[in-house]
């Protein structure tokens, strides 16, 4: 078991290394540099001075080595080119919690409501709660975040001046962005939950449980819910990872100082270090959340535990792909 975990962690670093390397060479291969993006009228000497200051005058491979050297010796991702004087990791320390803190609210509320709605819809199939849930899910899937955000912003800050349009720092600033962020997860998880619940309700063991005379709430909690959680956990991983960069539109609509804006704008302004750093963070979160999910499987699904064990015993040493 330990070996399996260690192996997964090793692979995780390998993936991270490869993704960052690819990003590094790709972003440098796009024509234009941070100065072409912003500065008019540039003499050669000025450009050379600029390149020298940020180490862009070196051959690409040397820059690549330097990147890793800096990373391993100082744990730094380098200085931003668009925001001179600030290291990319500073942005991460400072703004990742903002994006994450906002997103986690949206996700937690959204997933909880989505799951409840989904179960409700499944248990009352083809009745009012089901139609209601389907309607909400449909709306949530169809309306893009920016449309919803515009509507919400107009209604709650202009038509009725109940909330500030933009700004950051007070609890009130959370309300509208979180509201916009919950609809997506509600829709996704509701639909998913409904279909898996229906699936499981039809299983033989539920029939067995019912025939044993178990009470309905017990059946739902013990047998249905636990089994439906499996696919939900799988879906949660990318959702959590997506919190960091996924709410860009909402962040920019409400002027929230999160990571999203930096992530998106870095590419246009050719802020190489920022692009690489953000991609690093994003990949790391994603890979890590996948690992957590796989480990969670071990806990909630006995079958996976068994599989890992058997695999270890068998001659083949490949890591099983549980998904």
């Amino acid at each position: 078991m330990l070996k399996y975990v260690l192996k997964r962690i090793l692979y995780m670093f390998l993936v991270l290394f490869i993704v960052v390397s690819i990003t590094f060479f790709m972003i440098h291969s796009i024509p234009g540099d941070p100065l072409t993006a912003s500065v008019e009228n540039l003499p050669k000497a000025t450009r050379e001075n600029y390149y020298a200051r940020y180490g862009l005058d070196q051959p690409l491979f040397i820059q690549y080595i330097r990147f890793w050297k800096l990373f391993f010796t100082e744990g730094s991702l380098g200085e931003s080119l668009k925001y001179p004087g600030r290291m990319v990791e500073e942005f991460i320390y400072k703004y990742a919690p903002v994006s994450f803190g906002l997103g986690i609210w949206g996700l937690v509320i959204g997933v909880t409501l989505g799951i409840l709605l989904g179960i409700m819809a499944a248990l009352h199939k083809n009745r009012l709660p089901d139609y209601l849930a389907t309607l909400i899910a449909l709306i949530g899937t169809c309306i893009p975040a920016f449309v919803l955000a515009s509507l919400v912003q107009y209604y709650f800050t202009v038509k009725h001046m109940w909330f500030p349009t933009a700004g950051w720092g007070k609890p009130i600033h959370y309300v509208l962005p979180v509201l916009c962020m919950t609809l997506g997860p509600i829709a996704t998880y509701c639909r998913y939950m409904k279909s898996t619940t229906l699936d499981i309700i039809g299983q033989d063991y539920i029939l067995t449980a019912e025939s044993k005379g178990l009470r309905r709430p017990t059946i739902i909690l013990r047998h249905v819910l636990r089994n439906t959680l499996m696919p939900i956990v799988t879906m949660l991983a990318p959702s959590v990872a997506g919190l960091l960069g996924g709410s860009f539109i909402i962040e920019s609509m409400f002027a929230i100082p999160g990571l999203g804006t930096y992530f998106v704008k870095a590419i246009n302004s050719r802020d190489y270090t920022m692009v690489i750093g953000m991609n690093f963070l994003f990949t790391a979160t994603y890979v890590f959340s996948l690992l957590v999910v796989d480990l969670l499987y071990l806990v909630i699904d006995p079958r996976v535990r068994l599989e890992v064990k058997q695999n270890r015993r068998s001659v083949a040493s490949n890591v099983p792909d549980e998904q």
Partner: protein, 573 residues
């Protein structure tokens, strides 16, 4: 064992969840602490209860003076030496005292009380006034010298160093051939700054802004200077008290500023808003006090709103197509001219751009003056002149094609236009132009390509294009726009490389007399637009500003740099 492990794992998960929950809160809290107080919503102040307040221009101004506006982009850094984001200038103008400030089109001494130019026109002497840094120390001539020297030192890597080459020895210093102390900016005593230029540069104060910088303060923070509000030291009308990155900036009145008596605002909040809809919503609910609106739907909406009025301002920015003279076909002036003539400017301005900008008549916008001469009045409508002289653009194109490649019919010829934007409005415009020009010129096809600005500019500079589209802003120096087309300039890369033209521009750069200068400017513009048609100007950018009726004193002249110094409110509800 198995059970133990799984329990352990669950425990770890649970702990990490708890840990997440915990770290999340203080992190946000930390953020909140630094940002809470200055973040404002709509502030409704009780109307001043009739005691005699301050009277400005015959009006009693509000007791509580505050203004909220948007900032188009997040400043890269407030360190002037390393910044490459245009929006930063808006903030810096309020924090520092330039030697001379353009106040609504008039140059007034700010850091300097007075100045004079030597007879040969090469030496400028500025006499500083008594002004203080925020920490109470005096602003000295040395502070101005330090700032200028830093900008040209190679190791600073100041992105706009090119604009400063007019100073004596500047280029050599920037190339690393001379020490920064040789720069033509010196301080003979604490209250005098002497600036020497390479050549006679009458437009010196119109083209670059001399801000002071306090050396020991700057060095104390090093690379961190300008990254946060508390690393800044101001000497201008305002100080910066909060900077929530990518969200808002708060400025407050600086009581130590020499002219603090005439600074009315106590507080300015600048919101970094990148989403237009958000900005419109903020204007509508009064979170901000004025805003430029270009969206047709919103223009109508705001026109019907009470308490708002509409002002149109013209900028010295020209939207144009330009041609690559290195290209086989576009090396021919007739082909270039044919396209410029056939171009539908009326529909572009009135329909595609919603009537906000003004139709172009030459390279220079209507707001450009040389001395007392308005360039547009002096040089007339060059584009109309071209059109009148060549009513048949298709025939002119065919003539040009025959010269380049005898026998080539326009109907078999196509060309490519590159755009430095990927936005939907650019696509919309391009589609119209494409259809319209194919019809008018009878060419086979017009290809279009859309890249982000940096990528497009890179292609243009390397000469990998035929026709391209951009907008370019001028400074108050009339020679600036013509310098863009000289050999070696990669600004608007037409790749003209013409020695006679270079000589003309060079002469203009060194000419002082406005009578002489206007002639040279007119001649140069005629060459760029009419004779050679290096560019096909389309329109001049304009701002369509909606402002609440209680706002006064915003400097909207094309080169005005008053910042928030002159703004106040009367009767804010």
């Amino acid at each position: 064992m198995k059970k133990f492990l799984s329990i352990l794992l669950v425990a770890i998960m649970a702990l990490s969840l708890v840990a997440c929950g915990k770290t999340e809160e203080p992190a946000n809290q930390g953020n909140a602490n630094t940002t809470t107080e200055p973040a404002t919503t709509t502030t409704t102040e009780p109307a001043a209860t009739e005691p005699e307040g301050i009277v400005v221009n015959g009006e009693t101004i509000d007791e509580h003076q505050e203004i909220n506006v948007t900032l188009s982009d997040e400043p890269g850094t407030l360190d002037e030496f390393h910044n490459s984001v245009a929006a930063t200038g808006t903030v810096l103008a309020n924090l520092f005292t330039p030697l001379v400030r353009n106040m609504s089109g008039v140059l007034e001494g700010d850091g300097a009380e007075s100045w004079e130019v030597s007879e040969d026109g090469l030496t400028w002497t500025f006499h500083l006034r008594d002004n203080y840094w925020q920490d109470g120390t005096k602003v000295t001539a040395q502070d101005y010298v330090y700032s200028a020297q830093m900008k040209l030192k190679p190791e600073t890597a100041f992105p706009y160093a090119g604009n400063w080459y007019v100073l004596k020895n500047a280029e050599a210093i920037n190339n690393g051939e001379m020490d920064a102390s040789e720069l033509g900016v010196t301080a003979p005593d604490e209250k005098t700054v002497v600036i020497e230029t390479e050549y006679v540069a009458p437009a010196l104060l119109n083209s670059i802004t001399f801000y002071p910088q306090k050396q020991d303060h700057y060095e104390k923070y090093g690379d961190k200077y300008g990254t946060e509000a508390d690393t800044m030291l101001s000497c201008g009308p305002f100080i910066i008290t909060d900077w929530t990155h990518n969200s808002s900036i708060t400025l407050e009145k600086n009581d130590k500023y020499w002219d603090a008596e005439h600074v009315y605002l106590d507080k300015v909040t600048l919101y970094s808003i990148q989403e237009q809809t958000t900005a419109y919503n903020m204007l509508e609910n009064g979170s901000i006090d004025y805003l430029g609106v270009t969206d047709q739907d919103y223009i109508e909406r705001f026109q019907n709103m009470e308490g708002l009025h509409n002002t149109k301002v013209e900028y010295a920015r020209t939207f144009m197509w330009f041609f690559n003279l290195k290209d086989k076909y576009f090396s021919n002036p007739k082909i270039r001219k044919a396209i410029a003539i056939a171009f539908d400017r009326d529909a572009t301005v009135e329909v595609l751009l919603g009537g906000v900008p003004r139709k172009a008549a030459g390279l220079y916008a209507y707001v450009m003056y040389e001395g007392d001469y308005n360039i547009r009045e002096y040089n007339g409508d060059l584009i109309q002149k071209m059109i009148d002289e060549n009513p048949d653009a298709a025939a002119l194109l065919q003539e040009g094609l025959d010269e380049v490649e005898p026998g080539l019919k326009a109907a078999d010829w196509s060309f490519k236009v590159g755009f430095g934007s990927t936005g939907s409005s650019m696509h919309q415009q391009a589609e119209y132009w494409q259809d319209d020009l194919i019809k008018k010129l009878g060419v086979k096809a017009i290809e279009t390509s859309f890249d982000d600005y940096a990528m497009a500019m890179d292609n243009w500079q390397t000469g990998d294009f035929q026709v391209a589209c951009l907008s370019w802003g001028s400074n108050a120096d009339t020679a600036y726009m013509l310098n863009l087309f000289t050999t070696g300039s990669n600004a608007i890369p037409c790749h003209y490389d013409n020695e006679e033209f270079d000589a003309l521009v060079n002469k203009l750069n060194k000419t002082v007399d406005p009578e002489e200068r206007i002639k040279l400017v007119a001649e140069g513009e005629k060459e760029v637009v009419y004779d050679q048609t290096l560019v096909s100007p389309i329109s001049y950018n304009c701002g369509n500003i909606f402002e609440y009726d209680y706002v006064r004193g915003v400097d909207r002249t094309p080169f005005g740099n008053s910042g928030f110094k002159t703004i106040y409110t009367v009767g804010r509800p």
